[in-house]
């Protein structure tokens, strides 16, 4: 999800008072900052339909770690120690199985049906007393809404497992459907995607986690807590924020003794969280619904147009969610031009290439996600570029195979990079 990052988010998160405060200064000196984080927690609870949110994780992958760690803590706290497996669909992000392993679980992959939905028979066969949980993205990495989500959650829950929601695709359903309502027990959110904090060339991100009531005791700390003191009692550092004697403080080990613990030295990527908070306040409830609507509109429009342009749609009978997959397999068979070639040629035409070769289920795939902030004009320009490439693939395939031609370097030798490692500069001998 690469969308417009409002400049106000940056400038307001970088106000001098926020920039200067030491993380170990007493809570009383950071009431404004804490108020923002508390309210962000509340907003994210509402958006996800979850009972609690922790803002601690510093990226999506750490959010996944926190989520699976909470699932493990839950089973262990019940003495349910035989659950050693996490089920992951074969279309899932690579972080899902990697996270399960980091949390000490074995990974069981299940297959995807022809229509892109999870193969329910495969899932039924996979679950059992060894099942700790299932990790799922919905809309899935295939760009479609998993229609059988209710059946899936029943199968997993009936087996005693918990349901993990990978929030990478939350942009598609913001304000439309809540993961909590689908029956998920835990979710991570990529605030640097859905809440539009800048990617910074690869980070920092923020991977807040939301949980169903049964996982509340296990949330990673610290949490921003709001304290309403009895009237008349004097509270140091409290203020007008909520009227009366309201103040904010960090909730720590003392408040959540069953917490999975700390995942960062302080409060995760605090500045990223402030940016997400500003974004959320700018959008408000109405704006969030529009995010999902227009991200979906853009994706479906682009899918329709690219289908007309000759590209093969991976799931032509399904709605696109916020993203969709086209396959260049036919083009490759006809002309030798691969998805990679298309991607590199797009750079020449002023477009950052979409993700290629993921998910691996679809041959020569391009996973295209326009987001809601691109105009029809831009989308039409993208379609035109894709049509040009289609034509070039037939008329001048060499031009496409040797792209890019307009960047500072031509196609780079990845194999050499990995074999003859040059990771730090050394003066010539």
């Amino acid at each position: 999800t690469m969308k417009y990052n409002p400049r106000a988010c940056n400038s307001l998160a970088m106000l001098p008072q926020f920039m200067a405060r030491h993380p170990l200064a007493p809570d009383s000196t950071g009431q404004g900052f804490l108020a923002c984080l508390y309210e962000l927690q509340e907003i994210l609870k509402d958006v996800t339909g979850m009972a609690g949110v922790s803002l601690v994780p510093m990226a999506g992958a750490q959010g996944e770690f926190a989520g699976i760690a909470m699932i493990r803590a839950y089973h262990e706290a019940r003495g349910d120690t035989g659950r050693t497996e996490i089920i992951v669909p074969d279309a899932a992000h690579g972080t899902n199985p990697a996270t399960a392993v980091m949390c000490g679980y074995a990974v069981k992959e299940i297959s995807t049906g022809h229509d892109g939905d999870v193969d329910l028979d495969a899932l039924r066969a996979a679950v059992g007393p060894q099942t700790a949980g299932l990790m799922l993205t919905n809309p899935s990495t295939l760009g479609i809404f998993e229609k059988n989500i209710q059946a899936i959650q029943k199968i997993v829950h009936d087996a005693g497992g918990l349901l993990y929601y990978d929030g990478a695709n939350l942009n598609a359903i913001l304000g439309k459907v809540k993961p909590g309502d689908m029956g998920f027990d835990v979710i991570h959110m990529n605030l640097h995607k859905t809440f539009s904090t800048p990617h910074g060339g690869g980070g920092p991100g923020a991977g807040a986690v939301g949980v169903a009531p049964r996982l509340l005791p296990f949330m990673p700390i610290p949490l921003a807590g709001r304290i309403c003191s009895p009237p008349g009692e004097k509270v140091h550092g409290g203020g007008k924020a909520g009227g009366g004697n309201v103040h904010y403080r960090w909730l720590t080990e003392n408040d959540l003794p069953q917490s999975i613990g700390r995942l960062s030295a302080w409060m995760g990527n605090a500045g990223v969280l402030l940016r997400a908070y500003v974004y959320a306040r700018l959008l408000g409830a109405e704006g969030m619904c529009r995010v999902a609507e227009f991200a979906t509109l853009n994706a479906n429009y682009l899918m329709a147009e690219l289908g007309r342009a000759g590209y093969t749609l991976a799931f032509p009978l399904r709605r696109a969610s916020h993203e969709f997959i086209v396959s260049a397999k036919r083009l490759k068979d006809e002309t030798g031009i691969s998805a990679m070639d298309i991607a590199k040629r797009l750079l020449d035409k002023g477009f950052h290439a979409p993700t290629t070769y993921f998910p691996m289920l679809v041959a020569e795939c391009l996973l295209i996600e326009p987001t809601e902030t691109e105009s029809k004009e831009t989308l039409d320009a993208f379609v035109a570029a894709m049509k040009e490439i289609w034509d070039e693939a037939h008329s001048a395939p060499g031009l496409v195979k040797t792209a890019p031609h307009t960047q500072p370097v031509r196609r780079l030798d990845d194999v050499k990079a990995a074999r003859e490692l040059d990771l730090v500069w050394k003066p010539a001998a």
């Binding site: 030295a265 704006g287 780079l412």
Partner: protein, 452 residues
């Protein structure tokens, strides 16, 4: 105020192309029973002016203070150029550099970052950053366990930051890795070598060697590194990168150097900012390169033989190797590494050295003046970098609260984590402090001690 550029005409034309009557139809695969997305707790949207007003009011609640807390996050001067450059859209909003040909700027900066960090630590290689120092320590431990293959224990001195130990434990324990704490010598505040000797044997994968340690004290890093190697374990250097402008680089500790150097990069140009985003750095010896977690940038050639940069060793990573990856990490703190690169380039070796030396000198001066107050003394008299532990003649929380009322953050109360140190506070005075700042600290401390 959603950021959506569509006109009504656009919307209609797009729906026509799709063959849908209205946008709502695009959600028709979602079971109706689930469409309960109504947001009740999200407030109504505001325009930028209103949010700016709100945030200014919030910021105004967070008072500016004269800060003498360090403890893992350090107040240093950051030249204005650093963030004015980093904030340029080209760096700030760029995507992960998967399309290398269109991302040479980002990639070259990260390659320069790796070069500078390897140079600072005296190691062979560096990754392109991790989340922060504490989680970076956990990654270093996992690396050591992968490298050692049999042992699943890590020795960690109690002179390592309590919060770092806590974070590392949260992460590594799920892989059944045990952290064994080594006490510190009450006289020096450094790792108690006699206690360490009791852990001799080959059942641990690594020894963590902090420099400076949490108390600001300098450990005998050569001896500790040698000892770890003698036990067949790795030495993980946990270092403050700025201190390396003055102190021996981990790559030269002991006979053959530490194996991994890890730490918090915040001192290198990152503002305090309530605790984040910062970044963790992780460097290692050549032999361990393929065990490193996180993104790594390599220099290679393009099809015309021109040098260029690209993400490399991706076969270690989760998007290729999935369950067998070295870590699940993908997003790192690239922008912070970019800032650190610019910071180091602006200061140069000499500037880093002067910053470190001024911080050391300020803290030494502060400690000496503080010891002039009746009943105040340094807990550990040995060499230190830019933090010291002061023992007070009154309960630390109460003294610190009185100092706060005078606008001074007097240090970190150590009573929770180190009750054996008595009324102890950890104090830091970086290069940002003037002589009159130090005097103010002393005056306010004295007054706070004398108050009933």
């Amino acid at each position: 105020m959603p950021f959506i550029p569509h006109t009504e005409a656009d919307i209609q034309a797009m729906l026509d192309s799709i063959g849908a009557a209205r946008i709502g139809d695009l959600f028709d695969e979602i079971p109706a029973t689930l469409k309960t997305g109504r947001l009740s707790a999200v407030p109504a949207g505001m325009n930028e002016m209103q949010v700016a007003r709100l945030m200014s009011e919030r910021a105004a609640q967070d008072a500016p203070l004269l800060n003498f807390i360090g403890a893992g996050a350090y107040e240093h001067h950051v030249p204005a150029a650093v963030w004015q450059i980093v904030s340029r859209g080209e760096f700030y909003t760029a995507y992960t550099p998967y399309q290398a040909e269109a991302s040479q700027g980002t990639l070259q900066v990260l390659y320069e970052y790796q070069t500078m960090m390897a140079s600072l630590t005296g190691m062979d290689a560096s990754n392109a950053s991790l989340y922060d120092g504490a989680s970076g320590l956990a990654e270093a431990m996992l690396m050591a366990v992968r490298a050692h293959k049999s042992a699943r224990r890590i020795l960690i001195p109690a002179s390592v930051s309590p919060v770092y130990r806590s974070v590392a434990r949260s992460i590594v324990r799920l892989q059944n890795i045990e952290l064994v704490e080594i006490p510190f010598d009450a006289a020096t505040g450094t790792t108690d070598f006699k206690m360490l000797e009791q852990s001799a044997g080959n059942d641990f994968a690594a020894l963590v060697v902090p420099q400076p340690n949490f108390f600001g004290a300098l450990e005998n890093v050569d001896e500790l590194t040698q000892w770890a190697h003698a036990q067949g374990a790795l030495a993980i250097a946990l270092v403050n990168p700025l201190s390396l402008a003055l102190l021996k680089a981990p790559g030269r500790w002991g006979a053959s150097g530490a194996d991994i150097a890890v730490g918090e990069g915040q001192p290198l140009g990152i503002p305090l900012a309530n605790g984040g985003p910062y970044f963790g750095f992780l460097c290692c010896k050549q032999a361990l390169v393929r065990q490193m977690p996180g993104r790594i940038v390599g220099r290679t050639l393009d099809m015309e033989g021109k040098p260029g940069f690209t993400l490399t060793l991706q076969a270690r990573e989760q998007h290729i190797r999935r369950a067998k990856a070295t870590s699940n990490i993908c997003s790192n703190q690239g922008l912070m590494a970019t800032a650190a690169t610019i910071y180091m380039a602006l200061l140069g070796a000499d500037g880093l050295r002067r910053t470190a030396a001024a911080s050391h000198a300020n803290t030494a001066a502060l400690a000496a003046q503080a010891e002039g107050i009746q009943g105040v003394k340094r807990a550990f008299p040995g060499p230190h970098f830019h933090e010291v532990v002061l023992q007070l003649p009154a309960p630390a929380p109460r003294v610190l609260e009185k100092m706060l009322a005078q606008g001074v953050l007097g240090g970190l109360d150590l009573s929770t984590h180190y009750p054996q140190l008595g009324n102890a506070v950890l104090v830091c005075a970086t290069e940002t402090k003037t002589a009159s700042d130090l005097q103010r600290y002393i005056d306010v401390l004295r007054a706070s001690l004398n108050q009933p």
